[in-house]
């Protein structure tokens, strides 16, 4: 790892040696095209990996790897760094052998091959996917150091596939009785989740095979997954093998034992699904260190499972005062939106926060407001405002604050 000194332009004497002495690559012949028929990031980028959070889970095949949001730009997540959540491990399934079955309250239960699904008219749409348990470790207290671990169960891709409602209509769905679907995976867990037909009818729920221009990655459900925009990732069933139309919810394990939100009165909320409006500053963020005083671009991500982002406000004084940030275009529904605000750091302590507002007018809550309603044992759906404390040393730390 090079030191900071190396990374600063130096003008001692004649000038910077890396300018005065031409580098090897200015004086030699580089590598051929297609040296990598499928290209890779630079070797200097290897610090940015998806990582597990030590101690969070007990076995790697029922676990999470987090996206390194601290180093990402724009809204697209590189597919190689997409977060992972598996309940019974991931597979690289032979797509020629994969089938999708539609049954239940349809006049014609049907089977489709990937060839057939990929022949249908398709749409491509950019959407975020967030695990319902994202930021779950932080409900009670600060638990993890960086935005990778606090918010890294979040990714955003361009998905390509067929609106499920069109295929259900083709199978003769009974939309009067059939107010729910069950989506089921082909992996060992055969993940099952109930989705209200209202969502399917919106046309937004997709039988998706494409992700960022290519096929889904194996870790993300190759060759077929459900895309349920705005809804927690567990409903985006991977390795999708079956859709059943039914007249009541299915009460599956991951909607009766997990992905249920414990309230202060001891009741669990069941079928919590929608990821409400949320944002986080990714640079500067926890575990980082500012190089020196001066100009910085405060930047981060905002999203809402209920629509588009309308505004993001940024505070550098722990929530006393706020200023609207600039939103990167296009601002799309149920998609990450990049925001930024220029800032000059004087070298004194600061507390950075971002607060998003969505197209329904919903305002992202503080921890105080959120806990006031839901307590601190919910595990899921923590969309509180994140605070990053900048110390005089330039170190940025994850903190929670109490305002009065």
């Amino acid at each position: 790892v090079p030191t900071l000194a190396q990374a600063q332009a130096q003008a001692v004497g004649e000038g910077d040696p890396v300018i005065l002495q031409l580098p090897e690559h200015s004086k030699g012949l580089g590598q051929s095209v297609a040296a990598h028929p499928y290209g890779q990031p630079s070797k200097y980028e290897s610090n940015l990996q998806r990582r597990q959070s030590p101690g969070l889970t007990r076995v790697g095949a029922a676990s999470v790897s987090f996206s390194p949001l601290q180093g990402l730009f724009g809204m697209i997540t590189p597919s190689g760094l997409h977060f992972e959540r598996h309940h019974q491990g991931w597979w690289d399934i032979d797509p020629t052998q994969h089938r999708l079955m539609i049954n239940g309250l349809v006049s014609r239960p049907m089977v489709f091959t990937m060839d057939e699904l990929m022949r249908m008219e398709s749409v491509s749409r950019m959407h975020f996917i967030e695990c319902g348990a994202n930021s779950g470790m932080e409900w009670g207290n600060v638990a993890v150091p960086t935005v990778q671990y606090t918010h890294g169960m979040l990714s955003c891709s361009e998905f390509t596939g067929v609106p499920l409602i069109k295929v259900l209509e083709y199978c003769g769905v009974d939309l009067k009785k059939g107010r729910f679907i069950l989506a089921e995976g082909a992996d060992g867990s055969s993940m099952t989740r109930t989705i209200p037909m209202e969502m399917v009818e919106s046309g937004e729920v997709l039988l998706a095979y494409g992700q960022n221009g290519e096929m889904l990655r194996p870790e993300n459900g190759y060759p077929l997954r459900l895309v349920v925009p705005g809804v927690q990732g567990v409903s985006w069933v991977k390795y999708l093998r079956r859709i059943e139309v039914g007249d009541q919810p299915y009460g599956t394990k991951d909607e009766s034992v997990h992905y249920v939100d414990l309230m202060p009165d001891g009741q669990h909320r069941q079928y919590t699904s929608i990821q409400e409006c949320k944002s986080v500053i990714t640079t500067p963020s926890g575990g980082q260190k500012l190089l020196n005083t001066g100009f910085y671009n405060i930047t981060g991500l905002a999203w809402s499972g209920r629509g588009a982002i309308k505004a993001v406000d940024v505070s550098v004084d722990g929530g006393r005062n706020w200023k609207p940030a600039r939103l990167e275009e296009p601002v799309l529904s149920k998609c990450l939106t990049r925001f930024s605000l220029p800032w000059v750091w004087s070298g004194q302590e600061a507390i950075l926060q971002s607060r998003a507002v969505d197209s329904t007018g919903y305002v992202q809550p503080s921890y105080q407001t959120l806990r006031g309603v839901r307590g601190s044992k919910s595990v899921y759906h923590n969309n509180a405002i994140q605070s990053w404390q900048v110390l005089a040393s330039g170190e940025v730390n994850n903190v929670q604050v109490k305002a009065s």
């Binding site: 000194a5 600063q8 610090n47 249908m120 150091p145 039914g246 909320r269 001066g294 940025v396």
Partner: protein, 246 residues
């Protein structure tokens, strides 16, 4: 002519009707109303045999193990079985929430074990074995007696004894698109609060619990990762704007 441009989303000729055998092979879900459950039966004793042979290695002899997954059994009381509310969820008396403390529906247990367990050999159990091992888990939780035999007909009666059967609410706005949010923040822009204190941060001793953060950040850019391991940190110059101006 050679060609027809058709109306969107018609899909003419794609797919085929599923056969009954195919639907039977894949349609394995069991709903809270027990729709989908195959006929069968299994006793607590039979379940113990399955459990000890195929489950205990991961979940512990009494479903209490924390090694591979959180405990399945524990934390429920006879009073809970009476009330249908697991009291410890409200009081916080039990630190960890077991499966039986949360699961409201016995169908969920049956369905999940049937589709996903044993973890490394899912879908290898017969229907009778699933009945039996479900009975055994219920017995470990004190929900059914030692001499109980679970079958498709007495599931509904067992459901009425599930300790957390009334522990779920759907009174919230987070499921349907039309649902209303429960949390309301206001968008204040200036002088919003008087004082701000840090109420929680990572204790020093846990600083390197996630490894060396320097190695988890790019080697260029506006910031670096903090050196959190014991290895020597590179010297940082944070007191001036840029070396170039020196």
């Amino acid at each position: 002519g050679c060609c027809t441009i058709v109306q969107a989303w018609a899909f003419e000729g794609l797919g085929r009707v599923a056969t009954p055998a195919e639907i039977k092979a894949w349609d394995i879900d069991v709903r809270p109303d027990f729709k989908g459950i195959p006929k069968g039966r299994g006793s607590v004793q039979q379940g113990q045999l399955v459990w000890d042979a195929q489950c205990a290695s991961c979940h512990g002899a009494f479903g209490e193990s924390n090694e591979v997954f959180t405990p399945i059994v524990g934390g429920t009381t006879d009073a809970d079985i009476q009330s249908g509310h697991v009291a410890a969820l409200r009081t916080g008396a039990v630190p960890q929430r077991t499966t039986l403390m949360k699961v409201p529906t016995v169908s969920t247990l049956w369905d999940y074990v049937n589709r996903a367990m044993p973890w490394n050999a899912p879908k290898s159990l017969s229907a009778n074995e699933v009945y039996a091992v479900t009975a055994y888990i219920l017995n470990l939780g004190g929900i059914v007696p030692d001499d109980f035999e679970l079958n498709q007909d007495n599931m509904a009666a067992v459901q009425n004894k599930m300790p957390n059967r009334h522990g779920m609410t759907q009174q919230h706005g987070l499921w349907q698109v039309s649902g209303k949010p429960d949390v309301k923040e206001r968008r204040c822009m200036s002088n919003c609060v008087r004082s701000v204190v840090v109420s929680s941060s990572i204790p020093d001793y846990a600083a390197d619990a996630h490894g060396n953060l320097m190695d988890q950040n790019r080697v260029i850019g506006p910031v670096r990762g903090q050196q959190t391991s014991t290895a020597l940190a590179p010297k940082l110059a944070v007191s001036h704007v840029s070396a170039g101006e020196a």
